[in-house]
Structures are given as structure tokens and as C-alpha cells.
Symmetry: C2
Subunit: 690 residues, 2 copies
């Protein structure tokens, strides 16, 4: 109903809006003097990070390339091995088996298969290509590179002379291209955004410009001349935000300012395009980004829009953007984020719910939304250097993102609930059989999104600033990069993080010199010690970076020690489902109970009958044989079971009639759940004081 | 995707299924000997109840006509006045304004308006007609009757010579008629089911057979010859159950057994029709009803299917149906029903959720589903005479149904949540502006459903059996009917129910005689006294009928006294959101807090900060000036507010830092909520022992 209203409505353009559009139009219509050269890559790809803010005037922190950090044997090496050796190749096979490449081959006359998959099917290929791009920075993979190059050749072969490239809006559907109804629901620019991100990642690893050229041609030849604020142009609305951050990354790669201006125009919304208020909520687009006051609508759309807006701020410094971004972030942290870093609580519309609407079993918590949350906070960190954003990056990464891929790298969560009943009535539209992990979804956005995140992970460990280097994440690893003054810098990390809070950093500048090492003190840390070459350094505060400024020479060592007690967390009482419950967190990891781990798992005890007895200490033990090696928590508990079936509702005045049995609760890290037989799971556990 | 798969799949017919189909086919193909007369009404319409089980062999209880009970000034008279004087006429105007009649007039060349409204738009007119039908049994309304008769004339004028009647599947859409894709989503038989129910109600009030004739022609001329289990017939799947109970009521009205057989065939499902398991869950149709083990899928579909199956049992006595119905009812009572009698917790799919999935703010609780729950329990009561079904009828009627229509009869709830935040992010697809009560929904199923329920209410007060008379509901009223032996019977009820539990029944048989008066002792009653002519009668048990057998003469009086303390109810601990909370119920009414009633309503206190202090008594006071007159509860409470903002998650070990202020909680009946300014509301209130 709604979509078809658009084409019937006439354009609306107030005089104020017209003036603004005119101003935007002038900016966009003014090509850079060296337009031709400006659209060619102007960077050394391999020296660019996940986002390349090296020249961004409002980036306090600069990223380091993925290739500059080698993750050694440890926590993330296992996950990245599964990603590279299992997930990326098996997902390629799934993509091919489900016709994602046939959609391109058909247009070349190389396949007779019918068009298959949703309107955004092309983006699956692009996101997978991006994962390959980042992966190639961590080691040469000739076969993977050649396969990907061949796929890229098939993609670019379908680009039309106009620059248009999309396998869905062809044939009978060609007249629908870029119509307003299509823009709101058809994902054309969403696909191109992912094409650009994939092209840039692949270019930054390989120097291969094939896909990047296609993306530039789409933008330069098809999009910019015909769409935008100009009086003779059709407007743009990003029905699924994504193009904004991709355009700005394209600017960073080519130096063409018009891409930033176009992103700004899209982020502002074009008042000529008639949209229903529900659409601008759902899409998180179509009205000025700076008019937003809270997170709402489709969670992935909202997170990607926030990413694009932060990227826009990093280039322009527009204070209205930063103000809005901070307002939205406060909403995230105060009302909308799961303890796992997941966001988007509501299944209907895959959306943000009301403040404090954070159901557990019914949590939507799409993997892509948690990734969007990490990507946004990563950009906010670049803009500010504030560790509160890194805390969110870490929370999402270790929990609500990490849960998205199975340990073997072959199945994926679309939803990431915080409680689960395998005998439930669940009807997840994306997992019709009720399984929580599946090798394939027809909407397969999450699997390649997880792959690109794990593949690019080395790029999230460090940043640099004019003062020195920031250490964000901890795992066994070697940095080899340089400071802003050009001095080479190596840092080795040795740690058992996230199971243990001791980290040794060995600092080795090429030439001894004075600079600052900003070490992150995680927000969850309650006691911490920092030593340099054995001497204590004061001033460490949880949730901040401790700046250690001195003259550094090769072999200087920083020893960090964060205490890592198990903490029982409560939620704000306004979170209805968490009342009377606690979640256990140890270090960056949130834990959960799976029924099959409990000593009484063979009985018919409902997971809800387990109550944690607080007051007694929790013991933590590393089990190398469980779930590829995890820390296991052991906690005193009571099984409280009614001895009389009192039905669904009963007077409070009736006596309890419960039987209580002492037991032990066994908890595993949340990310590792659902890797064995289907079993009930809960993160938030009823408790009482022992 | 799913729907289009149907047409591509080939038919599947196992030999066992083929044998069963063949048997069904023979039953349906064998017209009654006096087929012609059997399709004419064979009843005195005005003596038939809401359902006419007077000849149903497996109905232990027989209904009484709506016209046999006159509800006098009291609780329900107010609601029925709003229904008759405000809701029914204003809804007629809304229906006309939204083109529901134009859809018919256009086919007659009397309107040039385009087709408007969803595929089930015709049913809106039929359900409204049913409301008028029942309303006319409570008093002559010449203008309303004439208006309705005129609308009926326009409806029947569009019936095609084939018997087909539907304003959506015409013109270009004609080839889609009754295709399997259309049957699963197109609501053709759903519309005809409502046509039949409307026609029967109107016939039972007025004797007018015009619409009834049209319905019979559809079934006899179009449906029976072409659709069914026969080898040359196309199969039937009721994409939205409704036709089943309508066909059986048509049998009760005409005596044509083939309608029962057809209903049985539909309830069994036709294995020739290829359906995805998700479809048979969502539609609650397409597989044998007797194979069902729990409530699932779309709640209204599920409830209507249960109504049809119970009707089928009432006529056939098939024990497999009764067994399944009891199994499903146990699931309802143990896992799936709100304390308000609402059902269908999940917004996605408007569906039943997992067992114990009963969120409050996110409760769907569609008005139609609560009505379906009442209709089903009414039929189960007829089959068994068991008061547990009446308890559900009463719970749904006073709470989750009664909340559906505003006090002024002009706006309606589609959803009936148990908590509400007017500042929330809610995106109800049916109420885009976020208002909970609206005068119109494009899917306007609920308003006329509420109207037909209130209009037919007198028919729910009593039943008869071979032993005597059952008293189900209590309100000031006069029964004038007869016992099975033909002896006339009048009963006058005098009471202040539901605010007070004293009820005086004055019994007046036309001729003194021995029979049983079965008085219902509500399940919520904890102490009760029953006296006949001042002498105590022993044996009353909550949740049962007390049989009082004696020789009754005119003027004999039964005095019932049910204690009506306010009870604080808890929910099963598996209902996550209700942990640590209580709901207050007094008599049949569930209560709630609206923020605007609280003494501190002008402050910024969150409704979640109110905690009930249990242990102290609750006072109840009738306020004639509030909300058309309601009982108001006053209860000791504490406002517990954090003095430090600890964010969304915080360690349990951190001290509370709360400020506590004694206060009084003011509660109103749940049904009356959202009749003033938008305000936060909650049914389940945090509590602690005083």
C-alpha cells in the first residue's frame, strides 16, 4: 500500500528546501579541477586500514592496515582459521549453489538459470568479496584470489554502458530502476555500496582495480549525472543505508570530493521525495540525519546510517552531525543495547524497540546489526579517541558478533537471542525449521558480514595519532607499522586474553624516540596494574586509555594486569525480563547456561528452575577440550521446583509448595552456545542471595 | 515465495489418503432425500441461540435465544448502549466512508469508486450485519433494520449466476478464484463464512432470508459441486478458518447434513493440496485437526478452527475431536492465555508464541483472538457443561474483550497490551500513529467483531439441559424462556456484579415443577454462600456449577454471595516478564495502573518505579464519576527510584542508591484503560512484602 502511494503523490518542495537543494546541487555539480585523475585511486592500498582515515581532518585516530597486524596463535586465531578455511570457501559454494553467480552469468548468456534470490542478492557476492579482500591481507591465498578475480570478471561483464550494474532490475524490471518505490525497497544503491566496499577491500589487498573501476563508473557515469538535488535530477533516498559510508570510503580511495557531497545529500534526505513517516523511521533515511533524536526502525539500516554519518563527520567536521551521533549513542548505551552488544530487539521490522525493550528469548539481535554497532563505534572511536566506544566494540565483538558463526565456521545465526528453548514454537522467517544456526539463509546477509568482520579484525587492534599509538584489543599478535613521524614501530602482544587479564606488550620503535602508548583499560576492569619495564605506572582508570609518554626503545615492555573476576550484572529495572536475574560476565565475555551442561541435564528440569545463589564465589576453569577451549564458570545454585502444579496464574497468598535442591550451575561463554546438540540456553539467570 | 510454490508442485495423493477422500466424497455427494426442502430454514429463528445446538446430539447444554434475556440497567447495559447507539452506527459510517459498500455498488454499476480495502473487505460488512442481527433481538430498531436490509439487497445483487459472491476476485482477478494460492491467502471462504454468520443472525432476528438464501446458493451451487474431496473436484483449504463453524451453523439452520460433512472435510485437510509446514501452522488448517497437539500459528485462525472443530464435535460426537480439543484447551490454560483472557502473544504472524511467552508491553492480544477464545470456550461449555470453560468466557469477556471498545463506543483496540508507554517506539502495523484506540483500521476485523459479541451477549447468560437451567453470567436481567419439558421459566437477576458478589435470582416457572438450577460458582471465588429462600445450600465449589434440584415455584429466590476480595495474582515463574510482579484481580475484573491516576502523576516518575507493598489490605471504592462508574482499588506502595544513574547494566555488588517514598497505588479495571489522555499503563506491578 505504502510503496505504491509514492508514485501517486506529487512532489513537494518548500521554498526553504528548494534553497538548500540548490546549494547542494551546486556543490555536487562542481567537479574537482582534476576530475579525471581524482577518480583514480590516490592511495597505496596496502597502507590503508579498514576505513582509511589517514587524511580525514576530523579523525583524531588513524587506522592501521589489516596487513600490519599478524594475529598469532590464541583466541582469535582459531576463529579466523575457521573463517578462512571453512566459512569463506563453504559460503562461496553456497552462493554458487543458490544461483548468486548465475544471476550475473545469465546476463552474459553463460547461464540459463532463472533470476533467483531477493532484490539484494548481488550484495551477497560483494560482501563475500570484501571478506576475501581483507583475508588476503593476512596471507597470500593464490587459489582464493584467482577464484575471486574470476567472479569479479563475471560481475563487471554485466555492467551496462550507462554504468548501471544490478542483476535484478533487468528485462521486464528495467523500467523500475531507481523509481522512488524501487529506491525505498529495491536495494539498488545498497548493492552498489557493498560493491564499493568489496572493491575497495580487494583493491587494498591486491591492487586490482577491476571491481573498483566498475563501482566508480556506476557512481560517475550513472548516478552523479542523473540523480541528486539538481532541478533536472531525480532525487535519491537510500532505502537501506549503506551507500553513504561506501561513497565516503570511495572518496578516501580516490580523492573525489563529489562522493562526500553526494553522501551528505543522501544523509540529509531530499524533501522532494514523498515518504510516509513510517518509511523514514524504518529506513532511517529520508529526513535529515541531524534531526534524529533516538535509534529506531530497522536496526541494520539504522546502524549503517550512523556509520555513514560518522564517516561524513570525519571528513567534514559538521558539528551538528557529531551532536546527533552523541545523542544517538547515549540512547544506545542507556536503552537499546543487549549485554552481548547486540541491538535491534524487535522481530517485527527487525527493529529497535521501545527504550528498555530487551526481551531474551524473543531477542532479534541480528548478527548484521551487532556488526553495524561495532562498525559505528569504531568510527566514533576514530573521531574522538574515547574508550567508551572501544568498550562497545569489544562487547559486540566477543559476544553478539562472535556468536553469529559456529565454531566450525559452517553455520550461522541470523538471530542471536539471549535465551532459547529448542522445543519452542519459534517461527523465525529466516530459519523456518527453527534451528538457530543454519548453513544458508535466503536472506544471507549475515554470513558474509561475519566473514568480512573476522577477516578485517587485525585492523581493529591499533590506531595511531600524532602523539603515538593506541592499543584497543588484546590478543597474541605482532604489529609492524609506523608512527606519524615515520618512525617504524613494532609491538608484540603476549597474553591469554580473554581468559586471563595479563598482557605483555613489547615495544620496538625502529629508532628510539618519545611518543605515547595509549593502553586501553577495559570498562569491565575493577583493579588494574600497569608497569613499564617493571615500574608501576599510576592513573589507570577503567573505560579509558592510559597514556604512557616516554622515550621508547626496542625491548621496552609494558605489563598490563586487569583483574578478571566473574561479575554478576543486573539490568536496569525497566528491562522487564531481566528483573530478579543476573548475567555473568568475566573479562569481555558474557556467559550463559546451556541445559546440556548442567549436572541434572538428563532430568526434565526446566532451565527456568535454576536459580543462582549469590554471595558464594564463582570458580573459573579453562577447559581445553570443551568447545575448542573455553573458560567454564561454576557457581552455586538451587533448583527450585514447584511440587504442586499451580497453573499459569495463582494467588500470591497460596503457599509456595516448592522443592529445593542444591546444585552447581555450569556456564560457558555466550559466543560458544548452540555448537552441540540443541539445548535450552539462558544468559539472564534468576538469582537470590545465598 | 511460499505461495507461488503451491501452483508448481504436483498433487500428492497416497493410497490411504485416496481411500479416505473417496469415503468423504461419497458422504458429500449423497444429497439428503429431501434435499430441496432441507436447504430451506427448518427452525424458528427467534428461538435459536447464538449457536443453535437445540438438536445437536452431543451438546449437553442447549443455548437460549438472545431475545430471551433482557439485560437491565447495570454493568453490561452501559456497554451495550454504547454498542448500539454509538459503535454500530459510527462503524457503519466508517465502512461506507472506506468504500466497503462501493465494492458491491461498483459491480452493479452504481459506483465508479475503485476496489478498495484488503481481500477480506467484504467480511467487514457481513460481521457488522451480524452485529445488527443480534442487536435487533434486543429491541426493534426500524431505521437500523431498513438500512441493513438495503445493504443486504446490494450485496445479494452482486451474486453471480454460478452462486459466486465476492467483490475482490472480479475482473482481472477472476482467474485467481479458488486457486490454491488464493485459498491460502485470499479469504474467499472466510468472507462467505462471515456472510453466513451474518445472514443467520439477521434471519434469527427478522425472519428475512435474503442474505441467507445467497449464502446457501454459494454453498449449494458454487462450492459443493465443484470443490471437495471428489476425484473431479478441486480441493479446499481454509486459509483463514471461519467457514467450518459457519457451515455447521448453516446445517443447524437448514438441516442439510452435507454442510457438516463439508466442514469435516475441511477440518481434516485435503492431502492433495501441497502446503508448506509453515502454512499449516500459520493457518491452523490443511492437516487433520485431530493431529494437533498445541495451539500455534495465527491466533484468530487457530481459535476459529477450534470453534469449528467443537461445532463439528457437537454434531458428530467424534471422540478424536474431543480429545484434541481438550489437549489444546490444556495448552491454552497452562501456557498461552493472558490473565485478561487475551491470546496470541506474538506480533509476528499475529501468533501464539512459545509456551509461557506472554510479554506485556509487546502483547499482541488481538481483540478478535480474545473473542475467538470466548466463542471456543462457549462451545466447549455446550459440549461438556464444565464451568472451567465459563471461567474463561468470563475472564475474556470482562477484560481482554471488553478493553477492545472504548467507553464511548467510538474507538477500538486492535492490540490489547498489558503494559503501555505512550512515548514508546511502537510501530503497530494496524495503528501507524501509535494510538492504541482508533476509530478505523484498514484491517477492521476487530470493531464489528466486538459489536457482534456485545450484541449477542444476552445469549450467553443461560443454557438449558434435560435437568433444568444453567446460570452462567451475572448481571441485572430477566430471562423468559422454557425448560425442555416445555414449562415456561422466568428468572430475574438482581446484583451489582461485577463490583459486588451478591446476586439474587428469582425463579418463576410457569407451572411449579421439579428441575435443577445450576448456579455457577466463579473460579475466582474463595468463599461463597448459596441460599434458597433463606436456607443455606451446601456444596458450592469455586469453578463449578452447584446443582440445586427441588420443586421450584414462582417467587422462589436463590441468594448467591461470592466474596470479592482483591487478589494479588502471580504468574508461573516461566513467564519471564511477570517475575517479581503481581496482577490485581477482584471478582472477574483484572485491574491496572494508569500513570495519570497516581498521586505523583505530575512528576517524571516512571510507572516501573512503583512497587506494591503487599501484606496490607487493598481498599476498593466505587467511583460513579470515573470512567462511567468503576471500582477503584487503593493499595499501599513505594516509589523506588535510583538516585544514581547506573546505566543499563551494572554489577550486582554495587549498592542500590535508591530513594524510597511511600505512596498509594490507584488501580482501575483493565477494560477501562486508555479512555482518557494517553498515559503509561501496567497490569503486572512489581511487588514486595510490606
Amino acid at each position: 500500500m505504502m510503496a505504491s502511494m509514492l508514485s501517486r503523490r506529487s512532489f513537494i518542495a518548500s521554498s526553504a528546501a528548494a534553497a538548500l537543494l540548490s546549494q547542494m546541487s551546486r556543490a555536487l555539480a562542481h567537479p574537482a579541477a582534476d576530475a579525471e585523475t581524482a577518480t583514480r585511486p590516490n592511495q597505496d592500498g596496502r597502507n590503508a586500514g579498514v576505513i582509511d582515515v589517514s587524511k580525514s581532518p576530523y579523525a583524531k585516530l588513524k587506522t592501521v592496515p589489516v596487513s600490519a597486524v599478524v594475529i598469532q596463535e590464541g583466541f582469535w586465531s582459531q576463529r579466523r582459521k575457521a573463517n578462512l578455511e571453512s566459512s569463506i570457501p563453504s559460503m562461496q559454494a553456497e552462493l554458487v549453489a543458490h544461483g548468486r553467480m548465475d544471476n550475473f552469468l545469465r546476463l552474459e548468456g553463460k547461464s540459463t538459470a532463472p533470476q533467483i534470490g531477493p532484490v539484494f542478492a548481488d550484495s551477497d557476492i560483494y560482501k563475500w568479496t570484501e571478506a576475501v579482500g581483507w583475508a588476503l591481507q593476512s596471507g597470500n591465498q593464490p587459489a582464493l584470489k584467482e577464484t575471486t578475480a574470476a567472479m569479479i570478471r563475471e560481475v563487471v561483464a554485466t555492467q551496462e554502458p550507462s554504468g548501471y550494474l544490478n542483476t535484478y532490475y533487468v528485462g521486464d524490471r528495467k523500467p523500475l530502476r531507481m523509481q522512488y518505490d524501487t529506491q525505498t525497497t529495491g536495494h539498488e544503491l545498497y548493492c552498489i555500496g557493498h560493491l564499493l566496499q568489496g572493491a575497495i577491500a580487494y583493491y587494498r589487498s591486491t591492487g586490482d582495480e577491476t571491481l573498483l573501476d566498475a563501482g566508480i563508473r556506476f557512481v560517475d557515469d550513472f548516478l552523479l549525472p542523473n540523480y541528486g538535488p539538481g532541478p533536472n535530477q531525480m532525487g535519491i533516498v537510500a532505502g537501506h543505508p549503506e551507500i553513504e559510508m561506501a561513497l565516503i570510503e570511495l572518496y578516501r580511495t580516490t580523492g573525489n570530493q563529489r562522493y562526500v557531497d553526494l553522501a551528505g545529500y543522501i544523509l540529509h534526505g531530499d524533501p522532494r521525495i514523498p515518504l510516509h513517516p513510517q518509511q523514514t523511521v524504518y529506513m532511517f533515511c529520508g529526513v535529515p540525519f541531524t534531526s534524529r533524536t533516538h535509534l529506531e526502525g530497522h536496526a541494520v539500516r539504522c546502524m549503517y546510517a550512523c556509520c555513514g554519518a560518522t564517516d561524513y563527520y570525519l571528513e567534514t567536521g559538521d558539528p551538528a552531525y557529531l551532536q546527533t551521533l552523541n545523542t544517538l549513542w547515549d540512547d544506545l548505551a542507556a536503552h537499546q543495547m543487549y549485554v552481548t552488544g547486540g541491538v535491534g530487539a524487535r522481530e517485527t521490522g527487525e527493529a529497535f524497540g521501545d527504550p528498555y525493550e530487551l526481551p531474551n528469548a524473543r531477542a532479534y539481535g541480528e548478527s548484521c546489526a551487532a556488526i553495524g554497532n561495532m562498525m559505528w563505534n569504531w568510527r566514533m572511536l576514530a573521531a574522538t579517541g574515547d574508550a567508551r566506544f572501544t568498550d562497545v566494540v569489544e562487547r559486540a565483538l566477543y559476544n553478539g558478533i562472535n556468536s553469529g558463526m559456529s565454531l566450525d565456521g559452517k553455520t550461522y545465526c541470523y538471530r542471536n537471542p539471549l535465551a532459547f528453548d529448542p522445543n519452542g514454537n519459534s517461527q523465525d522467517r529466516h530459519a523456518p525449521e527453527g534451528r538457530i544456526r543454519n548453513p544458508w539463509y535466503d536472506t544471507t546477509c549475515c554470513p558474509p558480514n561475519l566473514e568480512r568482520t573476522f577477516a578485517s579484525l587485525p585492523g581493529y587492534f591499533y590506531s595511531t595519532s600524532d602523539d603515538g599509538v593506541y592499543v584497543h584489543l588484546y590478543d597474541n599478535s605482532d604489529l609492524s607499522w609506523r608512527l606519524h613521524d615515520g618512525n617504524g614501530l613494532k609491538i608484540r602482544q603476549e597474553t591469554r586474553y580473554p581468559w586471563n587479564g595479563d598482557v605483555k606488550l613489547t615495544i620496538a620503535p625502529a629508532t628510539p624516540g618519545e611518543f605515547t602508548v595509549f593502553v586501553r583499560i577495559p570498562g569491565w576492569s575493577t583493579q588494574q596494574s600497569v608497569k613499564v619495564n617493571g615500574a608501576s605506572v599510576a592513573g589507570a582508570q577503567p573505560g579509558s586509555y592510559l597514556p604512557i609518554r616516554r622515550r621508547w626503545s626496542a625491548g621496552d615492555a609494558i605489563e598490563l594486569s586487569f583483574d578478571m573476576p566473574t561479575q554478576a550484572l543486573r539490568a536496569n529495572p525497566a528491562v522487564s525480563e531481566d528483573r530478579g536475574r543476573v548475567a555473568f560476565q568475566r573479562g569481555p565475555c558474557v556467559f550463559c547456561m546451556e541445559q546440556l551442561d548442567q549436572p541434572d541435564a538428563d532430568t526434565s528440569i526446566n532451565l527456568n528452575d535454576y536459580t543462582a545463589s549469590l554471595g558464594a564465589p564463582t570458580s573459573a576453569r579453562y577447559d581445553p577440550d570443551l568447545l575448542d577451549g573455553v573458560m567454564v564458570l561454576d557457581h552455586a545454585g538451587v533448583i527450585v521446583r514447584p511440587t504442586v502444579d499451580r497453573g499459569l496464574y495463582f494467588p500470591l497468598s497460596e503457599s509456595e509448595h516448592t522443592q529445593e535442591t542444591d546444585t552447581r550451575l555450569k556456564l560457558i561463554p555466550y559466543y560458544a552456545w548452540a555448537n552441540r546438540a540443541p539445548s535450552a540456553m539462558q544468559v539472564w539467570i534468576p538469582y537470590r542471595q545465598a
